[in-house]
Subunit: 345 residues, 2 copies
């Protein structure tokens, strides 16, 4: 039995559980009950992937993420690629042009210098691809057994060059919900590596940066209402967060959600649901229905495979997320307590 | 024997040592050989406490630090106070008005929720005192034995509202070097707590935020050439870094450097040199000699104890740092390989 599930709201945990970092209910509780009341300010309360700041005449997005992925190296990337792309993507999801990154690296004594070199090299390459500059940093070393190889924090600044309000509060009934491609690859790639599982083909993480596709959508005047990359907690958690923050009801169709056959197979064997699995290069966008075709076309021109699709819509009434299953049954999609797969990013 | 000391420049370490995070020679080597060539850009190469960015019409300072201090709670503060003040101070040392912070928190499974609450509360109080807003954050949890209670990254944005270039490159021969107060308290407080040592009086960390004193110096038109807070590696390392980056020679007087009697006593017992010990609320500033009195007055009006003093000057020729000892001998001050006290911040 997974105790945290039993009564997650009323119970106060005397100790931190792994589930508190899983992007699910327990993490939200920690944030809502401890962090937000302490650091109380309207910017924090928008519950978006980053904060939007106005400094002088400049509108900025500002976002941070720490990366603790285990293992450090996985098919399709490593913690370094993830640390750059993850933060670049959070800026892109604010509709910002990613500009500058900082990095704070915590090393564990005994880490092979070659592994670090390889991670740093990947960070450099990913930053170049995404067009961001890493301009300031910090390095700490903790004693053996007090860390886990490498933890990386990256914090990003991006410029917002348009007048759209891209955030949950802009979501409107009737909005089409577009998914940028198939889901579940990152989580399954990590888990297969971690557990030493092998499938017929190696499933690679979808880890990539999303600034170019978002900037092209903006240039094409797509009236984007909201963007969200599908990391911890996957598609399901992202949609639930948006529905809650926007106070709307979302209807999606299970049939419409693309999942690679190999990913589906791995999920079935392991009892995982792909809609909760973390991705590192997929996103949803909420756009007016009149712009569906144009949006799909732009996304497909940037993504290998070209599987962007409409997976649902925002309803006139109600709250929360409902999914019509392949069998035609409409069920409520709930947030998990933690993450199906801890330390996925 | 401390192996890393033997030949720190030519040797490549196959594994990361604790000394690589100590703020000394090994850390500089890691940064110079691995990080800077990979992330190559002029902003990173200024080797300052933060990067200075121009975005639109706005000039910003941007800086990051991860805090891994052990123990989490110590006389005079905790990791939360440190995480706010440390990053606020790095912004202040760029001559910026600290505005916004992000925080990335890595928790170890099993951490007592009450400890976390207390740390978060301290962060909230320190942020309020320093006048900064914590606007975005991230929380991760790692399994037991893969972290050490709490690690905190804070990254800060400040606005630069003047036209001075406050950085090592602005240091000039003849500049007076002013120290804001007595040194060594933070390092000794941490060490005493960690090792369970007790002295007649409890030595408290000097952990505090420095934005107010710096902003008042700017308002008073002090022509600040360079500022540096004396964290990892202490006064000695800060001055060596500045001398190297500015390509100047610095002469200081040991007699002029204030050290509390209890701190001096603790250092003698433990064989530590106060000039290498980390502080969390002390700084040096390089100013024209004509503004010494005004600068001392402003600093003393902000610091308890009022011990700001001139400790030295920038010479016309040479490079590096020399210190005239209490016995009148002039010796070269070298950078240590690591830190006398690891995990001090």
């Amino acid at each position: 039995m997974n105790k945290p599930d039993s009564c997650p709201i009323s119970k106060e945990y005397p100790q931190i559980l792994v589930a508190h970092g899983g992007g699910g209910k327990l993490m939200h509780e920690l944030i809502e009950k401890m962090f937000i009341p302490t650091f109380q300010n309207p910017l924090l309360e928008s519950r978006h992937d980053g904060a939007i700041l106005e400094l002088g005449n400049t509108k900025l997005a500002f976002t941070t993420d720490s990366y603790v992925v285990d293992p450090l190296f996985f098919p399709g990337g490593n913690i370094g690629t993830l640390a750059i792309n993850g933060t670049v993507n959070d800026l892109a999801m604010c509709g910002a042009r990613p500009m500058y990154l900082s990095t704070g690296i915590i090393l564990e004594e005994g880490l092979e210098t070659n592994k670090l070199r390889s991670i740093i090299k990947s960070m450099g390459q990913a930053a170049e691809t995404a067009g961001v500059k890493l301009v300031t940093g910090d390095t700490k070393v903790v004693d053996r057994g007090k860390g886990d190889g490498v933890f990386i924090n990256t914090t990003g600044i991006g410029i917002i060059e348009h007048n759209l309000q891209i955030c949950p509060a802009s979501v409107r009934p009737g909005d089409a919900i577009i998914l940028s491609g198939d889901i579940g690859r990152h989580g399954v790639a990590i888990m297969a590596k971690r557990e030493g599982l092998s499938f017929e083909t190696t499933i690679e993480s979808d880890c990539t940066s999303l600034e170019k596709v978002v900037l092209e959508m903006l240039e094409a005047n797509i009236q984007i209402h909201c963007l969200r990359d599908l990391t911890r907690g996957g598609l399901a958690t992202s949609l639930i967060e948006i529905a809650e923050a926007a106070d709307v009801s979302i209807q999606i169709e299970e049939n419409a959600i693309p999942v690679l056959e190999e990913v589906q197979g791995a999920c079935e064997i392991l009892g995982l649901d792909p809609i909760y699995i973390a991705n590192e290069g997929r996103f949803v966008c909420f756009v007016p229905p009149s712009q569906i075709d144009q949006t799909l076309q732009i996304i497909d021109s940037h993504m290998l495979g070209g599987q962007a699709c409409v997976i649902g819509t925002v309803l006139e009434t109600g709250t929360g997320v409902k999914m019509k299953s392949c069998l035609g049954v409409n069920r409520i999609v709930n947030m998990l307590s933690g993450e199906q797969l801890p330390r996925i990013c």
